[in-house]
């Protein structure tokens, strides 16, 4: 049972790490603010979410698990707030949307 | 064994990144960029305190260095910009 739990937890954590890698690559390679925002929110929500899920399988007490979930919830709220604020203000300040060149 | 090895990699990465980042904060002429680099520096510094087995100091660094100071600096920049605009308006008026 422990072996299965460990393997599952490792798989979830590695999947989370992959999303953080994808977020960083997106941040570096995407062409404008809005597409970078898209890459970033995936890393925020899914990357940390999968890491937290992987660590949840290893917790020893209820309070630890609740703390992990609270951290995830806080990051979700913070990420959503920041993404909306940045996107709306970028539009208000006329930062141009990227268009593929024909 | 491998845990120790990865611990070393973590420490070496931190030790390389922190001085470079501190140098960039000092030489950057763009104030907004410097503030955001400073926030990133505070984050890495918190990780360094964690590696030095001082979680209480890391807690303070995360709250003060990466959180509050960054917000105060950004607010100060906004205030400076408002002042500058106000000054120009006065000169024109």
């Amino acid at each position: 049972m422990t072996v299965i739990l460990n393997a599952l937890s490792a798989a979830l954590i590695l999947a989370g790490a992959f999303f953080f890698l994808a977020g960083t690559v997106g941040l570096l390679r995407f062409p404008d603010v809005y597409t970078r925002l898209h890459a970033l929110t995936k890393a925020d929500n899914l990357g940390l979410g999968l890491v937290v899920l992987g660590l949840l399988l290893q917790v020893e007490s209820l309070s630890e698990g609740v703390k992990l979930l609270v951290i995830w919830g806080l990051v979700l709220a913070a990420g959503a707030t920041a993404a909306h604020l940045v996107a709306r203000t970028a539009l208000e300040h006329d930062i141009r949307l990227w268009r593929r060149r024909e | 064994m491998s845990a120790e090895w990865f611990g070393w990699i973590f420490d070496i990465l931190l030790a390389l990144a922190l001085p470079v980042l501190a140098w960039r904060v000092l030489i950057t002429r763009n104030l907004y960029q410097a503030v955001i680099l400073f926030v990133a520096f505070g984050l890495l510094m918190a990780l360094a305190w964690v590696r030095l087995e001082a979680p209480d100091v890391a807690l303070a660094e995360a709250a003060i260095g990466a959180g509050i100071t960054g917000v105060l600096f950004l607010d100060a920049l906004g205030y400076l910009r408002d002042r500058r605009r106000g000054g120009e308006a006065d000169e024109r008026g």
Partner: protein, 87 residues
């Protein structure tokens, strides 16, 4: 297992260091604050993995504080210090 935790934490630190390029290059202030936002989340994940890897529960509180303050910098930036388009 602790090797895996520390290994993934090191990898996350590496993504932070690589992401610094975006802060330096910009071009708009919004790109820089987005990079800082990503660093905050990555730092939280790295701290949680470290807490498990070196079995030191207080580190979770550091991650909690970091998560709590993550939105503040972006909000302060947007409300107070936004300068507009490209520099």
């Amino acid at each position: 297992m602790s090797g895996l935790y520390l290994g993934v934490a090191s990898f996350l630190l590496l993504t932070i260091v690589v992401g610094l390029i975006r802060i330096v290059r910009g071009p708009t202030p919004a790109d820089r604050i987005l990079a800082a936002q990503l660093f905050g989340t990555t730092g939280v994940a790295a701290l949680l993995l470290l807490a498990q890897g070196v079995s030191s529960p207080p580190l979770r509180d550091v991650a909690l504080v970091l998560a709590l303050l993550a939105a503040f910098a972006a909000a302060a930036f947007v409300r107070r210090a936004w300068t507009g388009g490209e520099e």
